[in-house]
Symmetry: C2
DNA sequence: GCTATATTTAACCATATGGTTGAACATAGT
DNA sequence: ACTATGTTCAACCATATGGTTAAATATAGC
């Protein structure tokens, strides 16, 4: 429900390691330790990455004993998807409309007016 | 067409100024100069931002005389949207399935087993 | 050719990012 | 209580980012 800032969500998604962490989390919840295993970076680095994901609202960390269990929060993605969907559609329509207006089949490069 | 790296696309979208530039471009093509007007940042800064968007494949710059006309390239968004859609759906299904399995209505925090 | 305009490039600055290692903290297990 | 384990925090480093201003480049127009 919290409004997850597009800034943070997009930023979080822009790193391949973080996307891989999300991929892994998609297979089910996991502790930080297990999340770190497949990556060649240090434990602390993964912890930081998870921090970024957490701040973006994409994952939650729950203390379970001395471990921290991470889970995914799909809701945090809806804002980002909505933004993209809207613009993708809007732009495409716009460009189609322009092309229709000009009656343009692509390939008149350098039209100077 | 070109495979626009998710890294670059998400990164480009993570900045509010750049998203605003895209919004503005959605209203139609515009020169760098006109794009820079509404923003309080310097001309060069906007030029750089456009460079980022261009490298991500989100906009194209075409030289028209001494001006550069920027246009939007919606196709560059499809990869990002696909990623989000897939994961959003996948995760949601997963979590639903888990909840169904456990017959769990949320609210048993700190379950130690 | 000279000058004005549009844009990029270069040099620079402050801060953020992603990475490291090692210390600190919290809990499990003996 | 002690020790081992899981995780975070702190300090640090290199590089990237977003911003600036000033110089360089390219074209338009006289």
């Amino acid at each position: 429900m919290v409004e997850h800032s597009l800034d943070h969500v997009f930023r979080a998604l822009s790193d391949p390691t973080r996307r891989a962490i999300l991929d892994r989390l998609a297979e089910g919840e996991a502790t930080v330790g297990r999340l770190a295993e497949p990556f060649h970076v240090s434990f602390a680095a993964v912890s930081k990455h998870i921090g970024v994901l957490e701040r973006a609202g994409l994952v939650t960390r729950e203390a379970r004993g001395r471990e921290r269990v991470c889970r995914i929060n799909p809701a945090a993605l809806t804002g980002a998807r909505a933004w993209i969907e809207f613009h993708e559609r809007f732009w495409t329509n716009r460009l189609d409309a322009l092309d229709a207006l000009v009656g343009k089949t692509p390939g008149e490069p350098g039209r100077t007016r």
